[in-house]
């Protein structure tokens, strides 16, 4: 497994475009000539009616399917995307870009600032979900795609999906925002703040300048990841998976080692994460999520955001998700309905919590497949 510094040398495995068109960020800064890393799966057909843009979540990257060439692990959405999968790459051309602010090759806080010849660290501008989406739209131009068959993603990927539809109306025939909301709730902001505070409380973090010393605030970043992992599971799911089971021992050790399996699980997740993720990226991306509020962007509220849309939406929520509840997802449905948009909604009944979209959840995968396949038939007819 490469260290985070090692990621700098893996660039031959990462496809990139240079975004030369000036991009005005929400923080009012204008940027241009920055890199956007991406990956594609399958091939674009002659009619260009099979392109699907996937937006990744907080800790994801462009490697949706197959084996991630950097971490050597499965792509983050290998359960849903690949040959013969719900999003079948034998049939569809799948595109995914690493968000700006991320750390898998796109312009982010660990990249070198040409003005100072050092990693940006906290000199990186605060970016938003809208900035992420605007930069990814340039990738579609590069790939020669006028209109997508579908845009989709879960969690922060779902927020990007909603933002994409609001910012670029009718640029996609259909959209599936999964387990997300049109604005970040107080609870979600609080959890993100907990993650940020954990990182910033690590002395190694050093105001974001740790990269100069080629080290990572591992302890803080691991705690931040643990917070995330708790929030991705449901209470019931966690109880069923771990209960009070002890980790390879018969009795308590009367110490602060990981006696319980759930502790061991969290420590493992935290440790694995620091091998592949940049701490400053967590600060920037969680900030972007917290700032997300579609109705604030559109003066007339959510109706304004989705007016005059021909895009066909499918909102999917998970019954045990307490991070982005069914109620929040339904609020999105109500907003789309009020705007007269074409919207479907399904709640998947599961104990797997927010993580449901990433794991093998058959009912979810069947619904996703059924929707995208039927949309493809309709999109083909429209293109005729």
């Amino acid at each position: 497994m490469p260290s985070i510094a090692g990621l700098f040398f893996m660039s031959e495995k990462i496809k990139k475009i240079n975004v030369s068109k000036p991009l005005v960020l929400d923080c009012k800064k204008t940027v241009k000539d920055f890199s956007l890393a991406y990956e594609t799966y399958g091939s674009l057909n002659k009619n260009k009616d099979n392109a699907i843009l996937i937006f990744h979540a907080l800790t994801g990257d462009q490697f949706v399917s197959g084996t991630n060439p950097i971490t050597k692990k499965d792509g983050w959405w290998v359960t849903a995307v690949g040959p013969g999968k719900a999003i079948d790459t034998n049939k569809y051309f799948v595109i995914c870009a690493n968000v700006i602010g991320g750390c898998m090759g796109s312009w982010g806080p660990k990249e070198i600032d040409k003005n100072t010849n050092e990693a940006y660290g906290l000199n990186f501008p605060v970016i938003t979900i809208k900035d992420m989406v605007k930069s990814q739209e340039t990738l579609l131009d590069h790939l020669g795609i006028d209109k997508l068959l579908c845009a989709t993603g879960g969690s922060m990927g779902g927020m990007q999906t909603l933002q994409f539809c609001a910012t670029f109306p009718n640029k996609t025939f259909s959209a599936v925002p999964i387990a997300c909301s049109t604005n970040h709730s107080a609870q979600n902001i609080a959890l993100n703040e907990l993650a940020r505070q954990a990182i910033m409380a690590d002395p190694v973090w050093d105001n974001g300048k740790y990269l100069k010393k080629n080290i990572q605030p591992k302890n803080g970043l691991a705690v931040a990841r643990m917070v995330g992992h708790i929030s991705y599971l449901s209470e019931k799911g966690m109880q069923e998976k771990f209960g009070r089971k002890l980790q390879e021992k018969a009795d308590y050790e009367f110490s602060f080692d990981a006696d319980f399996q759930v502790e061991s699980y969290l420590r493992h997740q935290g440790f694995a994460f620091v091998q592949r993720f940049d701490a400053n990226s967590i600060l920037y991306i969680t900030r972007a999520m917290d700032y997300f509020d579609l109705s604030r962007q559109f003066k007339g509220g959510l109706v304004e955001a989705f007016e005059n849309q021909t895009t066909k939406f499918l909102i999917i929520s998970f019954s045990s998700d307490w991070l982005y509840t069914t109620k929040e997802n339904k609020d999105t449905v109500i907003a789309l309905n009020s705007a007269g948009a074409d919207v479907s909604f399904a709640e998947i009944k599961t104990d797997k919590g927010h993580d449901s979209f990433l794991v093998n959840e058959p009912e979810f995968l069947k619904t996703l497949k059924g929707f995208i396949d039927s949309m493809h038939v309709k999109f083909k007819n429209e293109k005729k």
Partner: protein, 197 residues
């Protein structure tokens, strides 16, 4: 397709916007798109049916009409359809009010408790009726507020709801119901279909 659906489809003009409340597996929606080029949305409570609609490419929202009709803006559809479900709501009057708010017109069908087979079951055998249209027993029926065509007719008049047309459906035929033939149609129709404005 069910005869009732054919009657409902015949009541609808082409190229309009329709909301099908309790759309089931979407068979009526598919028919309306194909035959009448109607832009149709569904609301359905049963998860399995919601998925069937999604697989067919139909627009459907999983939800409960009793509590979730408020999400649809006023007069946002030309027609709202409610097929044989009104009697299953806790508060049918409130649901009906919402339907009339959302749609410029409303089509409601009701299983007729005044149908002769239902009446004889109760009168001759002294038992709650179990028929094709009312297939459940008293202890597991979802129907909380059964009524007859005549009941619903009177209800509309009392509530000042404008009845545009009523059609009675049984195995053999469909026929228009008017005030003049209400008694006899109330005896021989299995289902009553009301077009309200």
């Amino acid at each position: 397709m069910k005869k009732e659906f054919r009657v409902i489809a015949d009541l609808l003009p082409r190229n309009i916007r329709v909301l099908d409340v309790g759309c089931g597996d979407g068979s009526l929606m598919s028919h309306l798109i194909k035959e009448k080029n109607i832009e149709v949305r569904g609301l359905e409570i049963v998860e399995e049916n919601v998925k069937k609609c999604i697989y067919k490419g139909l627009s459907v929202i999983e939800g409960n009409a009793e509590t979730e009709l408020h999400q649809f803006p006023t007069k946002s559809f030309d027609f709202v359809i409610l097929s044989q479900t009104l009697q299953a709501f806790y508060n049918p009057e409130k649901v009906l009010k919402d339907l009339l708010r959302i749609g410029k017109s409303v089509i409601i069908s009701i299983p007729n408790f005044g149908y002769w087979k239902v009446r004889t079951s109760l009168l001759i055998f002294g038992k709650m009726p179990v028929t094709k249209t009312l297939p459940n027993s008293w202890y597991n029926t979802p129907n909380l507020h059964m009524c007859t065509i005549k009941d619903f007719f009177d209800f509309c008049i009392e509530k000042k709801i404008n009845i545009n047309k009523v059609v009675g459906v049984n195995e053999e035929s469909t026929s228009e119901i008017k005030k003049s033939n209400l008694e006899i149609k109330n005896l021989f129709s299995k289902v009553g279909i009301f077009l309200l404005k």
